[in-house]
């Protein structure tokens, strides 16, 4: 917690609601395929269009994914839960209701362990429940937003895609903790392989409930729900903004209004979206078309045993292999841990491998807008690159260019170095020729070196490197220049 946050009279209480769009082949309650793009309303059927007489049937894989996420979050898998109808008037669902879970969710009472600024934190998971996604609405009018639109257009291709909603307990206390929670949850979802979990593209969505209370108080203050958080960074900024705004309201002796606010990423502020609707307005009732979900205990036990290694365990393993906490965290959160481990197994020193990954590979993926976990780099490629640097075949500078080529799919480091003509020139006769040319071209610099100003050698090394377009081996060039210009060298 920062000094500024400690200095205020209020403690922030934050809970997150995170929606995860599942990467099943079909929708939650019908056999319509899940896909991207395509013609609007080309993936609909009587079930997801809510036609009379149609019967929804749950997707077994979506239920399995829900249980696996619940188990990864140390939740209890509930013996018997059911689906409810959440009724509302909004055309994003053609049925006028969304199928969700209400009083009992498939998984409840779990937790997530975080480490924030070196401090261990256990964040409660209230529940993980199943529901279906809504359609996409396009608001037509000059504003482009729902307010002031002339009319709206709806595409139901997304309506009915399985969603999990993960509701945390209000255990988060700062913007940094909220960010750490969202990153960790995302890393778990990616490790389980149940969603592509892209915040920017909406396959993972986050709403934050933020309230303040006097430090030391146990009762909660009035909470505000913040929507439209499209990245971990947005979440941090929005929560920090909201803490500041509510602090100002309370300092003025005014009460915080319970409402839903919209985060404007460009303006860096939240604004009122709507007054909080009371929960019973949705008139939840059990969906008579859908029967109870009662997962068999032995199935749940097997799913638990088959869970992959979770990010916290991977980080612990990487740290015991000698990586610093921030290095282990970075490799896991970016999905690069497997590349690191393969590279080390292929003989790369851990230090070199982590440096290349966290500096160069991450830099490249940010620049190119490529998901870091999806970069085309094998551990063997990275190990080969590191070896070419250590044996002098490539300078670090040239190795970066080779890496660019490898990441661009041009082949292995050896192939890229050869095809791009990037191998370092270590051939003595060729280097001697270039050194002699540099001395002839800069006689004054050469004289300064001869008369004892050894620093002047830098200009000559630079000239050779330039002439060789960076491919000369700088250590050898230095050695050759010293041989020629410094007596007794």
């Amino acid at each position: 917690m920062s000094a500024i946050e400690q200095a205020t009279a209020y403690e922030a209480v934050i809970g997150l609601e995170v929606h995860v769009e599942l990467s099943t082949a079909t929708k939650m309650f019908c056999g319509c395929a899940i896909d991207f793009g395509g013609e609007p309303n080309s993936r609909t059927c009587p079930v997801c269009l809510g036609q009379p007489g149609s019967l929804p049937v749950p997707n077994a894989t979506a239920i399995e994914f829900a249980i696996r996420l619940g188990l990864a979050l140390d939740c209890e898998v509930i013996d018997s839960s059911q689906f409810h109808r959440k009724n509302y008037f909004y055309p994003d669902m053609p049925k006028n209701y969304q199928i969700s879970q209400y009083d009992v969710a498939i998984c409840e009472r779990g937790h997530l362990e975080l480490e924030v600024d070196g401090e261990a934190r256990r964040i409660g998971i209230h529940r993980v429940h199943m529901e279906e996604d809504t359609g996409k609405t396009l608001h037509v009018g000059t504003s482009g937003r729902i307010h002031g639109a002339d009319y709206s257009l709806v595409d139901y291709n997304r309506a009915g895609i399985p969603l999990l909603e993960v509701v945390s307990e209000p255990d988060l206390r700062s913007a940094a903790e909220a960010q750490a929670y969202l990153s960790e949850l995302r890393a778990i979802v990616l490790t389980l392989g149940i969603s592509d979990a892209k915040l920017e593209e909406g396959s993972m969505r986050c709403d934050a409930n933020v309230s303040l209370r006097p430090r030391g108080a146990t009762a909660y203050g009035t909470r505000v729900e913040v929507k439209n958080l499209n990245s971990v960074r947005s979440l941090g900024r929005a929560v920090a903004y909201e803490i500041g705004r509510q602090t100002g309201v309370l300092d003025d002796g005014v009460e915080v209004v319970q409402e839903t606010r919209h985060w404007d990423e460009d303006a860096g502020r939240t604004s009122t979206l709507r007054a909080k609707e009371e929960v019973f307005d949705y008139r939840y009732f059990p969906d008579p078309d859908l029967v109870a979900v009662e997962p068999a205990a032995d199935w749940v036990a097997r799913l638990g045993k088959e869970l992959p290694e979770l990010p916290s365990a991977t980080r612990a393993r990487l740290r015991s292999a000698g990586l610093a906490a921030h290095q282990a965290a970075s490799l896991v959160s970016t999905g690069l841990a497997p590349v690191f481990e393969d590279a080390v197994a292929a003989g790369a020193p851990a230090d070199d491998a982590v440096k290349w990954l966290t500096n160069e590979v991450l830099g490249w993926s940010n620049e190119q807008g490529v998901e870091s976990g999806a970069v085309a780099l094998s551990g063997a490629d990275l190990a080969a690159l590191v070896a070419m640097v250590s044996d002098g075949t490539l300078s670090t500078k040239l190795a970066r260019q080779v890496l660019d080529g490898v990441l661009a799919g041009e082949g292995t480091p050896a192939v890229v170095a050869r095809d791009r003509g990037l191998e370092q020139v270590s051939d003595a006769s060729e280097l001697e020729r270039m050194v002699d040319e540099a001395i002839a071209a800069q006689p004054a610099a050469a004289d300064r070196v001869r008369s004892g100003n050894h620093k002047a050698i830098g200009a000559l090394v630079g000239a050779v490197m330039k002439a060789s377009r960076g491919q000369a081996n700088p250590a050898l060039v230095n050695e050759l220049l010293r041989d020629r210009l410094i007596s007794g060298a």
Binding site: G31, P40, R43, T44, A60, T61, P91, A149, Y151, E294
Partner: protein, 98 residues
């Protein structure tokens, strides 16, 4: 259980119905009688009878995650009254001054 006029107004609002005072009063009476009728169940439902939402003791009726053909897009769209750019056209959702 008797309904208040506010209860009826609330339900009417949820159903997007604009009712005048006479209608509110008349519906309070009618809805109250429907609820009384349903309440007869509580005369036989005692604490040892669990609440039931389905008449059959079915559970775990699921389907395999296998795609089935969707509707032809034009057939799907034909179920709506107005189409624009392949999408269902719906009236303005929120009034200007809502």
């Amino acid at each position: 259980m008797s309904l208040t006029i506010d209860d009826v107004r609330h339900v009417a609002n949820l159903a997007r119905l604009a009712l005048d005072a006479d209608q509110l009063e008349r519906l309070r009476d009618q809805l109250g009688r429907i609820l009384e009728y349903a309440e007869q169940v509580s005369e036989v439902a005692t604490d040892d009878v669990p609440p039931t939402s389905h008449p059959y003791p079915l559970r775990n009726v699921w389907r395999a995650d296998e795609p089935r053909p969707s509707l032809d897009p034009d057939a799907a769209r034909a179920t709506g009254p107005a189409i624009e750019d392949g999408r269902f056209r719906v009236p303005r959702i929120i009034e200007e001054d809502a």
